[in-house]
């Protein structure tokens, strides 16, 4: 039960979080942070046993919806543990941080609910072995993320950004769902641990490309790959702890996680390599480019996150052993330094009121600790020795240089991006702290409190520690994770120092050029101002256009279809009906219609003729009472037909009902105006043609049906049994009150209901309400 409890505990604590918050006030954050802390320890406890576990993983299954193949099954291996540790570890700092950062905010209680629920969902996502339960958690992260982005919900921009994020990720999610279902159908199971070993089945199946595209659509949208990257910077409308947690360290990596996870099943093909490699590389470049174009602190960090996500995608695409090691190392490095930097951004906002980098400067005296650890994190970001970022960058260069395809393109993009990342790192690591003291919106009176500092300090330090102890980290978690992604054990390769080689050279070059770029940052921004124009036609604009297009289409469709005109509704229905029936009649049957006019008696012909003429008159007369009188004539003729063809009760009923109908019409028409000729002739002709078509359809149907009879009528039974069993000689009446009494019961209910309705309409008038 352990893993299940671990995953669900987040939801449980979330449910009680508002009360904890209310009861404990400012200490609530620390108390609630105990949960992620405990979870971290719990997950860490798997580490020692992982090496000896069978296949390097634990599998735990719980029944959920076994009939559908949906299970709560968990797969604990290097990859999921790496993520679980990041999620719970960073979660601890974020929850503690938020308790202070959002202190006094009226919605803090709900914030805890959402952030803890999110954490639980995220854990569920990365630990799930069942594709569908994975998807369930996947969508839960979308929803919680939506609610968190819209945290400042009275701000229209926050609402809009939240919707954008939700819409893009859910759209991808739906594609993903289809892809996962297809995978399960092909692989014969929803269990990842079963599917991961059947890669060849997938790669050789007709559906492979479909599955691949659908799954990647889900991953790309979730992980903000170009061209779906635009929602991520907008998501910065969320409070900073959310940005730090969801939009850098955890949720956006869900797509990366899934690509990594599915690499053994779907990877290893040219399509995989090209799609991931290209999209990843482009995203990487676009991300860092846009990051450099930003001055908003969170924007800048968000775009650099896009860069990181692109990098990870590219590496998974490359697919080599080195690439997988690089990816896992980079993932870890990025989570640590980006988490730290976002929290630092939060401190800048919280203490100095700065949201824009240009507002900052010279804050190192006021915030010395922050400065130090921001610098440390930036070093890792820049990939400077000896931070973990450096190790990752080395491996990255090595992986792209040896990429099985596109090595040149990827390498160039990687180096250029790395250079620009250095500039970004300098902007965040140097610019706010050094130089002349800027006139910030708020003057920081003192260093940030421990709750805010804990995260940056620990995370940045870990970035350094893991760099220094790269080999140790490598022996453990990273190589297990890489092995899970690679689908086979990987030879340990991770270390701080690999000697002088091409990657190191590239690293040095990028560092130097990056610093140069930093010094010319303003000029860079000016030169690339043309990008604003490009934005107008970029993916975000396309998104906006399609949304407004959808709303326009919706309005248009409603105007056309739901136009308020009853007769067009009728027209649509009738034309569809005639079409359906006639097409079916001519394509599915051998139409066989006998026009047999023999056996008609003279008076019957007279009656029918008058009936039809009366109907015609009721339609054409310009006098509404004349129409009613004609209706009466129609009624009498119908009654005569009933009588002439042996239906006595029906005849009586028809006569009585006809009379009462006329009385009713007369009572009501008294109030109504005369007929109006409201329709032009052309339309009347159209309507007449349609009416004729309907009439013809019914007549043809009647004739066509008359030529066939599959069985004798059951009415013989009633004729035989009416007197002996029903004790009545009027068979129709015996049917009504005995054989089919239920019909009659329904019929009188209808009558009673109609009467109640009439009564209510007449007596219960809205206009009488004073």
């Amino acid at each position: 039960m352990g893993v299940l409890l671990a995953v669900l505990s987040g939801f449980v604590i979330a449910a009680v979080a508002p009360w904890v918050h209310r009861g404990l006030g400012r200490h609530g954050g620390w108390v609630l942070a105990a949960l992620p802390a405990a979870l971290f320890i719990y997950f860490a406890s798997f580490l020692p046993g992982l090496g000896e576990a069978e296949g390097g993983r634990f599998i735990l299954e719980y029944d959920w919806i076994p009939s559908l193949g949906i299970q709560l099954s968990f797969l604990v291996d290097g990859l999921s543990l790496l993520f679980a540790l990041l999620i719970s570890g960073i979660g601890f700092f974020v929850v503690a941080y938020a308790g202070r950062y959002l202190e006094g905010h009226r919605d803090l209680g709900r914030f805890y609910v959402l952030i803890l629920a999110f954490m639980a969902s995220m854990l569920g996502l990365v630990l799930s072995s069942n594709l569908i339960s994975l998807f369930v958690f996947w969508e839960l992260t979308s929803i919680t993320s939506y609610l968190l982005i819209g945290y400042n919900h009275e701000d229209a921009k926050a609402r809009k950004s939240a919707l954008q994020g939700l819409f893009v990720t859910v759209a991808g999610g739906l594609a993903l769902l289809t892809g996962l279902i297809m995978m399960a159908l092909v692989g014969g199971s929803y269990e990842l641990h079963e599917l991961l070993t059947s890669g060849d089945i997938f790669r050789e199946h007709d559906w492979y490309m479909g599955i691949l595209l659908l799954v990647l659509l889900g991953c790309f949208t979730k992980s903000a790959q170009y061209p779906f990257h635009f929602w991520l910077p907008n998501a910065m409308a969320a409070p900073t702890p959310v940005s730090a947690y969801l939009h850098s360290a955890t949720m956006v990596k869900a797509g990366v996680y899934l690509m990594a996870r599915l690499n053994p099943s779907l990877g290893g093909t040219e399509a995989w390599m090209l799609l991931l490699g290209l999209f990843g590389a482009v995203t990487m470049f676009v991300g860092v480019f846009l990051s450099l174009r930003s001055t908003g602190i969170k924007q800048l960090l968000a775009y650099s996150t896009v860069m990181a996500l692109g990098t990870l995608t590219m590496l998974i695409g490359v697919g080599s052993e080195t690439a997988m090691l690089a990816a896992m190392a980079f993932l870890l490095a990025h989570s640590l330094y980006k988490g730290a930097l976002f929290l630092v951004a939060g401190i800048l906002d919280h203490e100095a009121g700065c949201k824009d980098i240009l507002q900052t400067g010279g804050l190192r005296r006021a915030l010395p600790v922050t400065t130090a650890f921001a610098g440390l994190a930036a070093l890792s970001l820049a990939g400077v020795l000896p931070a973990l970022g450096f190790v990752a960058k080395e491996l990255l260069f090595e992986a792209v240089l040896e990429a099985p395809a596109l090595a040149g393109l990827l390498s160039i993009l990687a180096v250029v991006s790395a250079m620009m990342v250095v500039a970004v790192a300098a902007i965040i690591g140097i610019r706010p702290w050094y130089g002349p003291r800027a006139d910030t919106p708020k003057r920081p009176a003192h260093e940030a409190p421990p709750a805010l500092l804990a995260g940056p300090v620990v995370l940045a330090s870990l970035g350094l520690l893991f760099g220094l102890g790269a080999g140790w980290v490598d022996q453990g978690l990273i190589s297990w994770a890489a092995a899970a992604v690679y689908g086979a054990p990987v030879s340990p390769y991770l270390s701080l120092w690999h000697g002088f080689n091409l990657p190191l050279l590239l690293s040095g070059v990028s560092l130097a050029l990056g610093l140069l770029l930093y010094l010319n940052w303003e000029r860079f921004r000016r030169f690339t101002g043309f990008m604003e124009v490009a934005n107008r036609y970029g993916p975000e604009a396309a998104y906006e256009k399609s949304m407004s297009g959808m709303v326009w289409l919706s309005g248009w469709q409603t105007r056309v279809l739901q136009n308020g005109y009853l007769r067009y509704y009728l027209l649509t229905i009738l034309v569809s009906t005639v079409g359906l029936v006639m097409v079916t009649l001519f394509t599915r049957t051998d139409v066989n219609i006998d026009l047999d006019l023999s056996g008609i008696l003279v008076h019957e012909a007279f009656i029918v003729a008058v009936l039809l003429m009366a109907a015609l008159v009721s339609v054409t007369t310009r006098s509404r009472l004349g129409a009613v009188a004609s209706l009466g004539a129609v009624g009498f003729c119908v009654a005569l037909i009933y009588v002439l063809f042996s239906a006595a009760d029906v005849g009586i009923t028809q006569v009585l009902v006809e009379t009462l109908t006329v009385i009713m019409l007369v009572l009501v028409l008294f109030r109504l105006p005369g007929f109006l000729g409201l329709t032009p002739m052309a339309l009347r002709i159209r309507d007449a043609l349609i009416a004729l078509a309907v009439g013809t359809m019914m007549a043809v149907l009647k004739l066509a049906a008359s030529t066939t009879q599959y069985a004798d009528s059951i009415s013989d039974y009633f004729i035989q049994e009416s007197q002996p069993s029903g004790y009545g000689r009027n068979i129709v009446n015996v049917i009504l009150v005995d054989f089919r009494a239920l019909d009659t019961l329904g019929e009188i209910v209808v009558l009673a209901l109609a009467a109640v309705g009439v009564y209510a309409m007449i007596k219960f008038r809205a206009e009488d309400r004073k």
């Binding site: 109030r671 009027n730 009446n733 009150v737 009494a741 019961l745 009673a752």
Partner: protein, 154 residues
């Protein structure tokens, strides 16, 4: 107000006084023999309702309501209740709903009489039809008086 509703005709009014009982007895006749000859609860109910409607046109709405003695709504309710309940006794002898139950009555004066739940059911139909039709017609008639009053003539 309501007296305005009726046609001001002495001849019609007198004829209606005469026709009303005639129509009502006719309707009972149609109801009772409906099981064997054309007729039955529905037809009978319509005839009875027509009788009262005639009275409404000939005399006035209030008198028509008095003729009826019960509120049409209540007639409807009771009729429906009778109709539903007539299907229930079968259940107590272990048969499905609406299985007819017949009683042979030997009455001193009337001789043998076969009475069954289908007849009861037909009585329910009869009551519902009278109630429903008259609820409709009387409401319409009353509404006319009302709107006459409020908005003037049409």
């Amino acid at each position: 107000m309501n007296s305005q509703f009726a046609l001001q005709s002495l001849i019609l009014r007198t004829a209606a006084h005469f026709l009303l009982p005639l129509l009502l007895i006719f309707s009972v006749f149609l109801l009772l023999r409906g099981h064997n000859e054309p007729g039955g609860g529905f037809i009978a109910g319509l005839v009875a309702a027509s009788a009262v409607a005639l009275y409404m046109f000939a005399v006035d709405v209030r008198s028509a309501k008095r003729v009826l003695r019960f509120e049409p709504r209540d007639l409807m309710g009771w009729g429906l209740l009778v109709g539903v309940i007539s299907g229930v006794p079968a259940v107590f002898v272990g048969q499905p709903f609406f299985t007819s139950q017949w009683l042979e009555l030997k009455l001193p004066l009337l001789g043998e009489l076969k009475v069954g739940t289908p007849l009861l059911f037909d009585v329910g139909v009869y009551l519902v039809v009278i109630g429903a039709v008259l609820l409709i017609l009387l409401s319409l008639a009353e509404a006319e008086g009302k709107t006459d009053h409020h908005h003037g003539g049409g």
